[in-house]
Structure formats: C-alpha cells, structure tokens
C-alpha cells in the first residue's frame, strides 16, 4: 500500500526543519510518496488594485518558489528518497481563505495519510490576530495523521 505524505511548506526555516525530519523518518520506507505543497496567495485587489501587477507578482513569486522547492526536493533525494516519489505542487490562491483550509482540501482530495507542517513560531498575540496555520490544521484535520515540527 502506498503511503502518501503531504508536506506543507511556507519555505521558512521552520518548514525546512519539517522537511529534514520527514526525510529522516521516511527515507527507509519503500512505499512512501511525498508531495511538497506551497500556497501562493495572490494579493487582494483591495491592496494591489491593478490586475497586471497582481499577475506579475504571482508569476515572480511562482518562479522563486519553484526554484526553492526544487532545492528542497533535491535535498529529499539526497537523503535517499527516490526522485520519482517526490512531487512538487504550487497552488495559487485568489480567494480570501486560510492556507490551512487549502492544505486540508489537498489532503482530502489527494488521499494523503499524513500532513506535515512546521511551526512558524508566531507569538500568542499574532496567533490571535492573524491565525495559525499549524493550529488550524491540527484542529480541523480528519482521517489523517498530522505531524507538527517545532
């Protein structure tokens, strides 16, 4: 049976720690398939009024993100995970929804058994005002395991 692991990364140092951790745990597992997921949130039209500016922002961010994710994929491969079991996915989000909701949707539609998230280390105050992706994923996830790497 295939073990599907979804690593949600915001490309921060903490999310890279999560990647390292998964690599160490999973490298000896023959059937593990890993998907690295990154969400690019398109700036709100209320903040960036010009549609062309928004498009340019997303394209530039996508190019930078892809480079960073290829590097992380290479890192996983170097730890012994075959390249054909590593998938990179960049999702562009235009609606005002939380990233946790998109991660959980991907888990459900992709049939992942495990979600891995790093903690950004935000303060309690910031978690209250702006929300916490890892806390929401832990609270809302159903029918899967969640690994939170601090």
């Amino acid at each position: 049976m295939k073990t599907k692991v979804l690593i949600a990364t915001d490309l921060s140092e903490n999310s890279l720690k999560a990647v390292d951790y998964v690599a160490e745990v999973i490298c000896c597992h023959d059937s593990a398939h890993i998907t690295l997921l990154h969400v690019i949130r398109e700036p709100s039209p209320d903040i960036m009024g010009d549609a062309k500016d928004r498009e340019r922002y997303v394209e530039n961010t996508r190019a930078d993100t892809l480079r960073a994710m290829e590097e992380i994929g290479g890192h996983l491969a170097a730890k012994g995970i075959p390249e054909d079991r590593i998938r990179l996915k960049i999702q562009v989000c235009q609606r005002p929804v939380g990233i946790a909701e998109l991660i959980l949707h991907e888990q459900e539609t992709g049939g992942y058994g495990t979600i891995v998230v790093g903690r950004r280390g935000i303060s309690k105050r910031e978690a209250f005002l702006f929300g916490s992706v890892s806390a929401t994923v832990v609270r809302e996830a159903r029918r899967c395991a969640v690994w939170v790497v601090p």
Binding site: D46, I47, P96, G98, K124, R125, A127, F128, L129, F130
Partner: protein
C-alpha cells in the same frame, strides 16, 4: 443645470446665496484643492461642499480628513458625506502589535453595495467622477458615537451594570450580528472601533461606519475584527477601560486591587489594560467574564469566528435575563 439654477438651489438648501464665482468640479483627484462652497458634479447630481470631516478620535478634535467632504445634496437638501479617493498605506499600532494597513475605496464601495438596505451599516452609493475615481456618497447618520455615549453616562459602575448594561448588551448583539453577516460575505470591516459605531438618534440602532481599511492577514482574515469586537465589549462591560496606572493612582484601595491581579488578567494586546473585570467588579457574572478572558493574556483558546463569540454572548444574555427574572418578585 444652468449656473442660475444652481445658485438658486444653493440659496434654497444652504440658506445663504453663494457669493463670488461658482466653481463646479467634476474631477476630484486633487481633493486638497476642493473647498467649502465648491460644487461637486457627480453622476448628474450636484453637491455643495460645506467643509471636511475631522478624525475626532475618542472625544478629541483631530485632523481634518481632506478626502472626506461634508456636503449638501442640491436635489433635496440632505446632508451627505462624500468620500474621495485617497490611497494610503500605513502601520497601525494595535497595542504592542503593528499591522500594515491600506485604505481601499474599492473595498468600501463593494461593502456599501453588499450592505444596501441593512440598517446596521451606514448607507450610500458609489459614483465615478469624470475621470473614474470611485467616489462614495454616504447618508449622514445623526446620533452619538458609541464611545462618547458610554463614557458620558454619569453613574457608578454597579448602577450602570444593573440598569444600563443589559440593554446595551442586547443592542450590541444585534450590531455584532451585522459584522457576522459581513464576514459571511467574505468581507471584513477592517477598523472596528468604539467610535465607529453611531447610535442612530432616530431609530436607536447601533450602526457601523467606515469600511475602507483593509490589512494583510495570514491565516484568519477576521482576527483583527474580532479583537475590535472584544474591545467594544470590554469598554461596555467596564464602562470605560481600566488600566493599571489609573488603578495605581487610586491610593491604598487601588494598590490592594493590583495585588490581586496576575499577568493573565491583562489584555493580550494592550499590556496595562485589565480584562478580568470581575476582579474589579465582583457582581459581573462568571459567564460574561469568561467571554472576556478569551481576549486576555492568559487565554489558551481564542475566538476565530464571530459566531463563536456571538454564541457565548447570547448564552450570557439569556443567563442574565434568567437571573433578573428570579430576582424580580
């Protein structure tokens, strides 16, 4: 409309004839140059400018907002607030937290459209000027700002709590319910403050004003709005805010109160602001105090959605109503 007709309308609705040259403006881009007695022509209607609105935050006279004009609609003499396009970004200081904010005419225009006919929101419409600026024409609400209303009530806290608070809470719940409707439409207010509620003199309804702020958020778009609702609730429950230095200034009794406070009794956002008001006013019921503690430094769980806060508050209101029933002979 011809100049003579306009002059006639001006005299009719402003009680004074216009002296000097009549200046009709169709392009509002340079709003700093638009002055009293200028006439704005927008979408075929004419508005006589009478001055600028002022920020007037928390009972103080503030800076004039040059992009917000007070005007008379020359078709019927009604007073309008005309908000012209002013894009700015700035850092809002929320206690010790900084938030990057943006002023968005587009957002306010959209919310005006979505809340049309809802008496809990200011009402108005959007009209483009001759170069496409998104101008918002808003009906003036006559009434008192919520912040001023609460602070101007001249009575001790216990009397206030028993006689006024239940009615205030009932009205606030309706007003908070309006924010929930906004959130359900995937919109945020963006600047929920005690002085952004006007108590309508005519209907008594607590009405939200000013929706043009927005901000960057990461996971929960409504967290800042929820913080604002908590702050309004705190002001209402305490009949003002209670900060550590004010209590310390009360002499021995103040120092005794302070000795009972712990770090978890204070606001998560404002370091010196007391959230656990039950320690100051023991007759505040547990349920209501528990709601407030969600906004404290000691909170382990936060409200993430307006309906969560509303659900708890409605339970508190019902409990208080039952308590009153039992007490009443």
């Amino acid at each position: 409309m011809r100049e003579s007709e306009l002059r006639e309308k001006i005299e009719q609705h402003s009680r004074f004839p216009l002296r000097g040259k009549l200046n009709v403006i169709t392009d509002t881009t340079q709003f700093m140059g638009i002055r009293s007695d200028d006439v704005l022509e927008l979408g075929g209607s004419f508005y006589l400018v009478k001055g600028e609105e002022v920020e007037g935050r928390f009972g103080l006279d503030g800076e004039p907002k040059f992009w917000v004009k007070r005007a008379i609609d020359l078709s019927d003499g009604s007073v309008k607030i005309i908000k012209l396009v002013f894009h700015e970004s700035f850092v809002m200081q929320l206690g010790i937290q900084q938030i990057k904010c943006f002023r968005s005419p587009r957002k306010e225009s959209r919310i005006l459209e979505k809340t049309r006919g809802d008496p809990f929101f200011m009402q108005g419409f959007t009209v483009p000027d001759s170069v496409g600026n998104i101008v918002r024409v808003i009906d003036r609400i006559y009434g008192v700002r919520y912040y001023d209303y609460i602070l101007d009530l001249a009575l001790d806290h216990e009397t206030y709590f028993h006689q006024h608070f239940p009615v205030l809470l009932r009205n606030l719940l309706l007003c908070f319910r309006a924010i929930q409707r906004l959130h359900k439409m995937e919109e945020l207010h963006g600047d929920i403050r005690n002085d952004h509620i006007i108590i309508d003199r005519e209907s008594g309804i607590y009405r939200w004003i000013d929706f043009d702020y927005t901000y960057e958020w990461s996971e929960n778009p409504f967290g800042v709005d929820l913080f604002g609702l908590g702050n309004i609730l705190l002001l209402t429950l305490g009949k003002g805010f209670h900060n550590l230095p004010d209590i310390a200034a009360c002499g021995p009794s103040g120092m005794e109160t302070i000795s009972c406070l712990t770090p978890s009794d204070f606001s998560l956002i404002f370091r010196n602001r007391i959230i656990n008001l039950q320690k100051l006013f023991p007759y505040i019921p547990d349920g209501l105090n528990q709601v407030m503690l969600h906004f404290s430094h000691g909170a382990e769980v936060f409200y993430e959605k307006t309906e969560e806060l509303l659900g708890d508050l409605e339970a508190c209101e019902a409990e208080m109503a039952c308590g009153r029933d039992v007490e009443d002979p």
